[in-house]
């Protein structure tokens, strides 16, 4: 735990990680050549990440595949040694005091389980009780709470290999939170889950954050998770932070464009409205993009209904997903941090 209240719970400064790997030469003799005269290749996974996360925050840490998200998380958990820069988690340098740091964190990997595959779910919880030295009464209390909250009563004594993915993930969440850590790292926690299971997980994360004040770092490709849970996002690309701030800000910057979707009563070729750009049209339905700062939606609606015979009109707000997709492909041009 951090000693003083003024210091952010998690601090990284110019954090770097470079992986060195032996390069494989092609051809049948390549492997042999690699054995005697290895050629090394450096790959920069994290190229100077500085961020501060306060106690009780719920931060979405997002970026395309290979951006360096998992590498950062692994350094924060102390299992990877940074190549440069500084970091402190609750006042501890994780890789120097891996075990001490481990007491402060809970981790959930969507693609990997920490549960014993062949044993009933509850056996994994018992092992964790011993690992963290949780007193019997506190263990009983937390377990009961989790069983209720995550509805695990029906499968607590079922071998993990027989559980559905949704059940297994609930078990993994309970396992990560059993010792009530102040920090929770989530790596793709909803991957492969159906909508109901996703919602159960999101509600759980929301509750532990709100009720226990658990600081959560969420890494995911499912931006609906982020939109639902996080106020702040840190966007990383090619090992660097390209945006760090409230979701609202990125939505405002990129979300100035709205889409006016018009459905005509009869086939209409090349429809046009002043002040809006035709994005797509199939004759019956047309999509117009306009800037909400310079154009008023009601004027455009009036304009289009005067010119054409219209059956239906809708205005679409931009989704975080679309914005992020745009940033991944076009690059981000705004300010990294708000002043």
């Amino acid at each position: 735990m951090a000693k003083s209240a003024g210091v952010p719970l998690i601090v990284t400064r110019e954090l770097r990680k470079v992986f060195r790997s032996a390069k494989r030469s092609p051809g049948p003799l390549g492997a042999l050549r690699g054995l005697f005269a290895p050629v090394y290749e450096d790959r920069v996974a994290v190229a100077g990440v500085s961020m501060e996360i306060e106690r009780g925050e719920l931060v979405g840490y997002i970026g395309p595949n290979g951006a360096g998200k998992s590498t950062t998380i692994k350094m924060l958990t102390g299992i990877l040694v940074p190549s440069g820069g500084e970091l402190a988690v609750a006042g501890i340098v994780p890789h120097r005091k891996r075990r001490e740091n481990a007491r402060n964190i809970g981790v959930v990997f969507g693609q990997r389980t920490q549960l014993y595959w062949d044993l009933p779910l509850v056996d994994s919880f018992e092992l964790l009780r011993a690992i963290y030295g949780i007193p019997a009464d506190r263990y009983r209390r937390s377990l009961d709470a989790f069983v209720e909250l995550l509805e695990m009563g029906d499968f607590l004594r079922t071998p993990v290999r027989q559980l559905s993915l949704g059940q297994r993930m609930r078990g993994d969440f309970a396992a990560a939170m059993l010792h009530e850590p102040p920090i929770l790292y989530l790596d793709e926690p909803t991957i492969g889950l159906d909508v109901v299971a996703k919602e159960a997980i999101r509600t759980f994360v929301e509750r532990v954050n709100r009720e226990q004040g658990t600081t959560v770092i969420l890494t995911t490709h499912d931006l609906a998770d982020v939109e639902r849970l996080c106020r702040r996002i840190v966007l990383i690309d090619r090992g660097r932070i390209i945006f760090d701030g409230p979701i609202d800000r990125i939505k405002n910057e990129y979300g100035r464009e709205r889409t006016l979707v018009v459905r005509f009563t009869e086939p209409t070729s090349a429809p046009a409205i002043p002040g809006a750009r035709l994005e797509a049209s199939d004759g019956i339905t047309a999509r117009f993009v306009f800037d909400r700062a310079s154009q008023r939606a009601d004027r455009l609606v009036r304009e289009v209904s005067e010119r054409y015979s219209v059956e239906d009109i809708a205005i679409e707000e931009p989704e975080l997903e679309g914005i992020i997709r745009h940033i991944y492909t076009q690059g981000y041009t705004g300010e990294v941090r708000s002043a």
């Binding site: 590498t71 692994k74 481990a102 990997r112 062949d118 011993a130």
Partner: protein, 264 residues
């Protein structure tokens, strides 16, 4: 003792997990009697056409081979297999995120696995001993044998740990595993008494850590190592245990600094 609690629990969970593989255990129990019987037949046939090599009478040889086989049922439970799997599948990352000494946890897991197999073979052990009569040594010798066996168990674990530890660098050790396993079986005295090795090789094999695994406890059992040499024999085993444990510790420290967790 609370510091030990997590590791005791690791052993208990490994025990429970291993006990779920019922078919595997049954097959092992079933094959034991057969293997013991075949060993006796083999050595008896070999002895009928040759004079007793090294002056080792047939009944001593059969005792040696039978006890070696029984020991192997416990020693071949590869408690370090878990390291290899965790490295390949990246599960080691999850373990490293726990406040535990990871190699110690794996050792405890190995002990739990061993206990399951040791208990499971008890009934067929009795049957085997009825099929093949072995020389049962005096109680004092038995006590020293079990002590020596425990030291050998430790050496075996750390030799395997070192071997699997290479996976930290190569991530794949299966081929190497096979070669070393074979060499280890041969040089540890599991298949043949080490005294059968000729000349310089015969002297060299006693200077390797493998001899501490099978040969020393077995030679105590059949009385080739007499009581006055017990202390020396156990001391040498203890030294190998310390050396392999220290090497494992150094390897783990070096590996922990360069862990590349698969994926991500």
């Amino acid at each position: 003792m609370t510091a030990l609690a997590p590791y005791v629990e690791y052993a208990r969970k490994a025990f429970a997990r291993e006990a779920t593989y019922r078919i595997e255990l049954l097959a092992e129990i079933g094959s034991l009697a057969l293997r013991v019987y075949l060993l006796r037949a083999l050595w008896t046939a070999l002895y009928t056409h040759n004079v007793a090599p090294m002056g080792l009478p047939l009944h001593s040889m059969i005792t040696y081979a039978t006890v070696a086989m029984l020991m192997s049922l416990v020693l071949e439970v590869d408690g370090t297999r878990v390291i290899r799997e965790k490295l390949r599948e990246g599960g080691i990352a999850v373990d490293l995120m726990k406040p535990i000494v990871v190699p110690f946890a794996y050792f405890s897991d190995g002990v739990g696995q061993t206990l399951v197999h040791a208990l499971a073979i008890l009934p067929s052990l009795l049957i085997s001993l009825m099929l093949v009569r072995i020389d049962v040594p005096p109680a004092a010798t038995l006590v020293v044998f079990f002590f020596s066996f425990a030291l050998g168990y430790g050496v075996n674990f750390f030799v395997n740990f070192l071997l699997n530890g290479i996976a930290f660098w190569t991530l794949e050790t299966f081929g190497l595993q096979l070669i070393v396993r074979w060499i280890s079986d041969l040089l540890s005295g599991q298949i043949l008494p080490l005294a059968f090795f000729p000349g310089w090789l015969g002297r060299a094999v006693f200077a390797l850590p493998f001899a501490a695994i099978y040969s020393t406890p077995l030679l105590v059992f059949i009385g080739i190592i007499p009581p006055r040499q017990w202390a020396t024999a156990l001391a040498i085993q203890g030294a190998w245990l310390a050396a392999t444990a220290a090497a494992s510790y150094l390897l783990w420290r070096a590996a922990a600094r360069r862990i590349v967790v698969q994926g991500g």
